[in-house]
Each structure stands twice: as structure tokens, then as C-alpha cells.
Amino acid sequence: MSFLGTLIGCGNSPYPAADAGEKVFYSYLLRSYPLDPVNAQSIPGMGYLGAICEPLFEYHYLKRPLEMQPLLARAIPQFEEITAPGLAAGEPDRVLYRLRFEIWDQVLFHRDVCMDVPNHAKPHTRELTAEDFEFTFKRIADPANNCPAIDTFLRVDGLSEWIKRLEAMRQKGPQTATLPVHELYRLAGPIRGVQVTGRYSFDLLLTERYPILLYWLAMTTTAPVPYEAVEYYHGEDGRPHLREWPIGTGPYRMADHRKDDFIAFEKNPDWRGITQPQRRLPGTRYPTGGEEEDRQAGRLSPEYVDQPLPFIDRFEYRRDKEAVTRFGKFLQGYYDGEEIIEETFHQAVSGGDISPALSDRGIRLSMETMLRVWYFAFNMDDDIVGAPRVFADPARERDREQWLDRNRKLRQAMNLAFNTQEEIDIFMNGRASKAESPLPPGVFGHDPDYRNPYRQYDPELTRARQLLTEAGYPGGIDPRTNRPLQIELSLPDTDPRTMELARMTTRMFGQLGIDLKLDAVTYNAFVQKMRRGAFQVLRWGWYADYPDPQTFLLLLYGPESSAGTGRNNKANFRNARFDFLYEKMATLADDESVTWTETGPDGAERVVTMSRGEIIWEMIAIFEYECPWIVNHHPMSFNLFHSWYHNVKPNTVIYTGAKYRDVDARLRRELREEWNRPVRWPAWAFVGIVAALVTPAVRTYIRRTRH
């Protein structure tokens, strides 16, 4: 009967009863993600790290478009052009670009046993200094750490030489190879372009003016990690690894981490915003200004504005893999927020807004277009759809210009035949915005009024058919075989859903008369195909880390071609003008322009001055005409929040948001109780049925034993 007792006596809360009144944020995790700042790349992982570690800058929590502001740094530095002496005697002077950083004093690392050197007996802390940044930059450079920012940081003067020195030290022998990492880094010497100029100041010297670097300094990838933590948390002798137990200077610190099962962080009592609120350091108080929508959504209520951060005491994430049960727990109030997926969409949203059943419970809906783009990439190295450097078919190579033109027309026709809106409506319930160019809304250079002429779907396909005829395939018939032209679409998996999506795609190109063949393989085989460049068309997407057009236009930059390298230009698109403009654009800030001399079409030299926006527009015009992609859509994230969960403003690149959010634990407890009144009658009915079944048996037994 004890089982029945538990059944009847208690509710359905998955959490300990003692937590009910505390400011704990509850959510779920699907699995554990590596949390070493230098190479964490998963989206949930970077979200956790944003609470634990702090980079030099962060984004303003409310302002849109995104605005960078100092966090550990006192100010955002400007590039200064300086002259440095040549590397060897007799060499000419070099031009370098300097960024001078001043950081705040009295910033403490998490109080942790790893900082108590050498005994590791009790938790200890120490102040963050400029040398910690030098150590962090060396970690970024260390090839063993496989840092995603390395391509950008190679522009730091002397970084590649330092990497070579480090590799040489590693190969020298067991003595150096077994040294603690910071000792090894010290032996490898300083990086020429990272100069510590004081306890709280350092300079970065770049060989190129490269503003993209500043975005990386606003990501947890570059957040300072103390060398003590790297040395102590090595994952052996019963200690966790740094990727399971990250240490930083953030407002939260790790409280518990059970792999794949549970992760929790708690308020860091040594955080400067808590110990020194009177200093009003940047990023330690809630913002005082924002957008109009923030005012309407209550994100600028006087209760929060200018108040010291953080608000929530503890974050807990428990494993919960099934989307449907997650949504159920959210509705019961056991999760504070939840992302809407396809299966739950019609339950949560009706007629473009939140469904009445949910809004009656005070649940709010937020919709945001993410900094992502999905597309079909044509393989530009392919004879049929591309513009290869040399056509494999000598007949085509002989008529090169004509075939380049015909293949381009084929790509343009296919662009016109793909109905993105249908895919968004059927497979994403409208949770995406149709893409006109690689740049999603919210990125500099995105023009909301721009319409790509080759991405305007017309059900009659008039223009597409005409282009296809001009490309030499009237009605889609390939004159070589007298059958519809066959084009192969490579897919990354064989999931039935992917296959359904592919069948829809087949149907769309079928209307044009093109026979799309599907080539569905395992993900690994797919990646191999991309790397070998052995495909015609594939479906792929890009998730940006920072809100700059450069990261999207990089996907079309010639030297970034994927064939043979596995890099990001999956279409292997090479266009000299595009590459030239990319190189100009990448070194500019949004409001800057650049001047160069070039030879005009008439053969005369001329001086050209273009702003960053103008350069981007010329690049998009090239993209539009050449059609190396069928640019498909920018997905949106739809999120639900309970009424007690405050100041939520989702954004895919702001990772430091945890400290700004708040939960009203009292309201949550009341509503949870109201929504989860135990339904006891089934338990009693069960008891009744068992009694009804057992009684006759007992009576029979008693009657028989008496006789």
C-alpha cells in the first residue's frame, strides 16, 4: 500500500520541494557540451559559458541592431596605425595596427580550489591581470586547443612564429612535453603582437586592420581563463576536466555538473557587481535604455532599470530528451521557457499569434529571425551546373564563354523554380523568413526592401522556362539524351523527414522539367563528398557567431573554397571581383570607406572610393547574377515564456544574457500549485477496482476453508 500512498499523497513536481520559493531557473539539457571557452562551439554550451566567463566586450542587452560595449575592458579601442622596425636589421619598417586595451582592476576569478597553489586545500581566488589575457591568447594560438577563432587571430603579429616555436618545444622531448601548459607557453616566449604594458593594460598588434577581431573579443572564446584552472582541471585523478568545470570571472560559477545528466551554476559571491556595486562598472547593472518594444514587453520596468545584477540565484538544467514531454512540463510550469518546435507549433500558435489557451495562462511568445542562412549550393566546379576553372568536357572547354553563360542560366532558372515559401509553410509552420541574399535581417547591409529577381517564385514559371530554353534545355529536355536533364541533390542524412523534404524539392524542379536525383548518404559520407567536391547540388546552412556581413560573405570567398580543404565555401564559388571586394570589405568598419585605383573598362586608371555598404551591395549584385546558391531562408526561433520569467530577449549571438533575466519564484510557486492540483479519483478508482476484484476471491477462499 505504500505505493498507493505515494501515488495519492504527492504531486507531479520533478524538483525537490525545498527549492519552490527560491530564484532558481529551471530548464533542460539534451546532453553535455564541452565547456572549455577556447573551443566551445555548441550553441547551448556557449550559452552556459556566457554566464560563467566574461570576454572583454559584450553586446548591449536590449538595443537593436546589436551594439558592442565594454565589459572587462574599460573602453573599446580604436585601431592606431603605427610603424614598427623591421624584423631583422636592414629590413624596412613595417606598418602595424595597434589596439590598446585597459582592463578593470579588482576583477576576481571564481573562488575555487584550483586557485590555491600549490596545496589545493581550500577555495581561493586572485585578481585578473593583463597577463591572464596573454595566457588566453596563447591558448587560442595553441593548435592543440583547436580554437575556432584562429583564422582571425593569425593576423596578430608574430602569432604564427609563436605557434612554430611551441610545436618545436612539444617535439623536443618528454621533458618539455610533460610541462604544465603555462610553463610550456612561457618557454615558447612571448607573442610579438601581444604586449603586456602594465598590470591592467596590454596592446594587440595586428598586421592588418581587421575589425572582425573585435567581435571575437565579445565572445566567450576569448574570455580569460586562469592558468591555475588549466593546470588543475586536467580530467584525471578524479578531477573534472576544464571542459566540464570552466573557471572565469563571470557572475555565475559552476555548482554541479554530472555528465549528460545535470548541470547547475550559482551566483558568484566574489563577482565585482556584487562586492563593489558602488563602482557601477559596465555590465554590472541592468540597462537604462532600450527599444520601444522593450518598454511594451516590460523589460524596462523601474523594478529592474539600473539595478545591480544578477537577479537569478541559480540555474539548473536537467536531462530531458523528448520534445513532447518537455512541452508538457513547460505547460505545467516546470520549465520557465521553451522553444516551439514543429510538433508543438499548432498547440502554441494560432493565426500568427499565441494561442488563447496559452495566453490565458500568462505565457508570452517571442519571435526572432536568427543570424542563420540555409541554402542550396551548386558545385561551381561541376560541368553541368557550375563554372569550373577548366571544363572536364573538352567540347565545353572549347566553347568556354558560351557554356559559362548557359550554366549560369540553368542556375538562374533553378533559382526561379524553387518555392521557398512552400517549404517554410509546410515544413517550418512559417517559422522562417525567405532569404533574398545571404545576409539575414539584423546584419549590416541587409536591405529589407531588396528583392532578388531570381528568387521571386511565379507558379507559371514563365521566366524560368525561358531561361532554361536559353540554357539549351528546352522544357528541361537534355538534347544529348532526349530525356529530362538529370541533376543530383546530395543530402546529409536519410531521415524520412529529410527524404520528404527532398521529394518536395524534386517535385518543384520536376515542374520545370528537371529530373532531380536524390543522393542520400550518411552524414560522414556527405562531409566526404563536400570535401572532395563530388556533388552537383547540396543543401547546407550557416550559423553566424557574430552580427557582421563578413561571416556570411566569407561563404562565397574564393580562397575559402571547400573542395580539397573542407572550408566553408561549399559552392567552390570563385569570382575575382567578388574576392577583391571581400578583402576590402573585411577590413572596414560599417561607417568607413576605402579608396583604390583600378583600370576601368576604357583602359584608363581611375580612383574609386566606396563605403562598406556600397561594397557589400556590389558583392550581392554579383551573387544575384551568378547564382552560386539557391538562397533559401533565415530560420526564426519562436520562444514561449511564463509570466514569472522576466527580461527575456532571445538573440542567437548574445551569450551574456543570464545575468539580466529574472524569475518571480513566489508567483511561479502559486501558479504551479494551481495548475497541478493532483487528480486523485483515478487512484481511488484503482483501489476500488482492485477491491471489487479481490473481494469475491477472498470470500470464496474463506467459504472454502471453513468447510
Binding site: A323, V324, E342, E343, T344, H346, Q347, E422, D425, I426, F427, P474, G475, G476, I477, N482, R483, P484, D493, T494, D495, P496, R497, M499, E500, L501, R503, M504, R507, G510, Q511, G513, I514, D515, A520, V521, T522
Partner: protein, 348 residues
């Protein structure tokens, strides 16, 4: 789904199968044993009903394997569209061309499930449509072909292996027996599903690969039965007599052993069939099954149950079809075993 050219092969295979079954029936017409078998079978009402339904399914699968393209006139080619070049099977021809909507619609509905626009074929989709608007009845009927291919083709792969291995091991014993036992014990000790997945990951996807993988995991059971039966047969008087008269091993195996094993082969063929079809569904669950099979349909429809309002028709259609196919195969299989297995027969 049929490709461009392989429909000719498919047609040929159907013709061959029909020819074999007609020849078989012609031969069996005068065979006493067959006539007896048919008479006994006909007495079991349930088995006859199941056999009728099962033959219907086989018929659907065969009809879905006969395909041809309608000729496209040279001058019309440009406007014919891609569908004109696609071979259509007899089953496809039961439905009008372009018999689809843009997304879900409920069975016999007149308006789309989401959005309420009027359908192109209102009230015509008896079992509703799938996520991309294909008719569910059509898809379900097309699911019988992969199921039959898996069931029949795998069994045809398995039987020769099992007979050769089982008879050799049972008849010669000693070293050969040790080797065969070693092989099948090793295979049997690996969990079936893991072995299936591993094999398919190594060989790649495709109909033949799935059949081979299923074959590798199923021959063990039949092989064991055949080995045991051979052990018994080899000691019987007529085999001893044949040996004493100096007949060669090959002749003894071919004349006296193998023909006496055939009832086991037949029974196991019918009973294995449903097991194979069900296992293909499990493979589909892992994303490595056959395209268009019931398993694939069920996996796709799995998440539809979580929708609100629920979309039930795809899952219902695919699972009902799978259930009926497996049930009828089992009933027929049981009846065949009862009639052919001498032990069960004498018990009656």
C-alpha cells in the same frame, strides 16, 4: 520508387515469377501430395481467408512492379513535363496523374488541414494525405512492394546458405560440423539489431544490402534446424542401405536427405516472412531501411501523433497495412506448418 531504367528488370522479374508459379501449379495439378495439401488447406476457413488476403497483397506488390512509360511524341517532349518520362506502375495508374495536394489533408476532407484552403481533389483522398500532400492510400499500397521484396528476396538468399551449411554439418559431422557450428554460434552471439546496423553501415544503403544484412542474421536459425534433421536422417535405414550399396555422398544427399528437409524449409520460409518484414521496420526506425516501406512511413508519422490536433491517418494506414500483412503471413504459416510437419500431423 522505380528509377528510370530499372523498371525493365522489374517487369522481367514479375514475368518470370508469374511463369514459375503457373508452371508450379501445372506440375502440382497432378501431384498427389500437392492435391492432398490443397484439399487439407481448403478445409481451414481462417487459413483460406488469410491466404486470400495475403495473395491480394502479393498481387498489389506485383502490380506495383509492372511499370511502363507512356510514349512521348518527339514534338511534345518540351511541354510534356517530367512526369511523362517517369514509368508508372499499375498501382500508380489506379490514381489520376498529379493526385496530390500541397500539404496535409484529413481523410475525405474537402479543405486543407492547416489553413482551410479548398483542396485540388476534394473528398477524393480516402485515407487523407501526407505532409507533402501525397495520397496516403497510394503510399500505403506502394508499401507492399518493399515488404514483399524484403520477405521473399531475403528468404531466397537464406535458403541455399542454410541448406548447404546445415546438410554438410549434419551429414559429414566432425570437422565440418565444428566449423559450421563455430560460425553460426559466433553470429548468434551478436545481438541481431547491432549486427544488422553494423552490416548496413559497412555495406551502405540499398535494397540488396538490407536483404543481405537480414539474410546474414537469419540463416542461423534455419541452419540449426536443418543440421539437426540431417543428423536424424543420416541414421535412418534407407540412408544406411544406400550407403551400403555404395552410393556416393552427393547422390545420397541429393536423393535422400535434401528432399526430406523441404517441409522444414517451406515452413520456415512462411514463418520467417513476417519476422523479416517487422525487422525492416526496425531498420527504418534507425534510418537505414528501404525507402517507401511501411517502416519508413511509420517513422515519418511518429511525430505526427504529437501534433495538436493529432494527425492519425498516416500512422493508422501504415500500421494497419503492416499488421494485416504480418498477421495473414503468420496464419498462413501456421496452417502450412500444421499440414506439412509430420509430428504435428500425426498428433492430430
Amino acid at each position: 520508387m522505380l528509377g528510370w531504367q530499372d523498371y525493365h528488370t522489374s517487369n522481367l522479374v514479375v514475368a518470370l515469377l508469374l511463369a514459375i508459379s503457373v508452371a508450379g501449379a501445372w506440375y502440382g495439378r497432378h501431384n498427389l501430395f500437392c492435391r492432398q495439401f490443397v484439399r487439407d488447406f481448403a478445409r481451414r476457413r481462417l487459413a483460406v481467408a488469410a491466404a486470400a488476403l495475403f495473395s491480394l497483397f502479393v498481387g498489389v506488390a506485383l502490380a506495383d512492379s509492372i511499370a511502363w512509360c507512356d510514349p512521348v511524341a518527339e514534338e511534345n517532349a518540351e511541354n510534356a513535363g517530367i512526369e511523362a518520362f517517369r514509368p508508372r506502375t499499375l498501382i500508380d495508374r489506379l490514381f489520376p496523374r498529379d493526385f496530390r495536394e500541397s500539404a496535409y489533408s484529413a481523410p475525405l476532407a474537402t479543405n486543407a488541414f492547416y489553413g482551410d484552403q479548398p483542396l485540388k481533389h476534394p473528398g477524393k483522398h480516402v485515407l487523407g494525405t501526407t505532409i507533402i500532400g501525397h495520397d496516403t492510400l497510394h503510399e500505403t499500397l506502394k508499401g507492399f512492394r518493399p515488404a514483399m521484396i524484403i520477405g521473399a528476396f531475403t528468404t531466397l538468399l537464406v535458403i541455399p546458405i542454410a541448406i548447404v551449411m546445415g546438410v554438410l554439418a549434419g551429414y559429414f559431422g566432425r570437422r565440418i560440423d565444428d566449423v559450421v557450428q563455430y560460425i553460426y554460434s559466433t553470429l548468434a552471439s551478436i545481438p541481431n539489431i547491432l549486427l544488422l546496423i553494423a552490416l548496413i553501415l559497412v555495406m551502405g544503403r540499398g535494397t540488396l544490402q538490407v536483404c543481405i544484412a537480414l539474410g546474414v542474421t537469419t540463416w542461423v536459425g534455419l541452419c540449426r534446424l536443418l543440421r539437426a534433421e540431417t543428423l536424424k536422417l543420416r541414421e535412418l535405414e534407407y540412408v544406411q542401405a544406400a550407403r551400403a550399396l555404395g552410393m556416393s555422398h552427393t547422390r545420397i544427399i541429393c536423393r535422400h536427405i535434401v528432399p526430406n528437409l523441404f517441409h522444414i524449409v517451406l515452413i520456415s520460409f512462411v514463418l520467417r516472412f513476417s519476422w523479416l518484414v517487422l525487422n525492416e521496420s526496425i531498420l527504418s526506425y534507425f534510418g537505414i531501411g528501404l525507402e517507401g516501406s511501411f517502416g519508413a512511413m511509420i517513422v515519418l508519422a511518429r511525430d505526427e501523433l504529437a501534433r495538436e490536433p493529432v494527425i492519425w491517418w498516416n500512422l493508422a494506414a501504415a500500421s494497419t497495412a503492416l499488421f494485416l500483412l504480418v498477421l495473414t503471413a503468420n496464419i498462413v504459416g501456421d496452417a502450412v506448418r500444421d499440414l506439412l510437419d509430420p509430428r504435428v500431423r500425426t498428433a492430430e
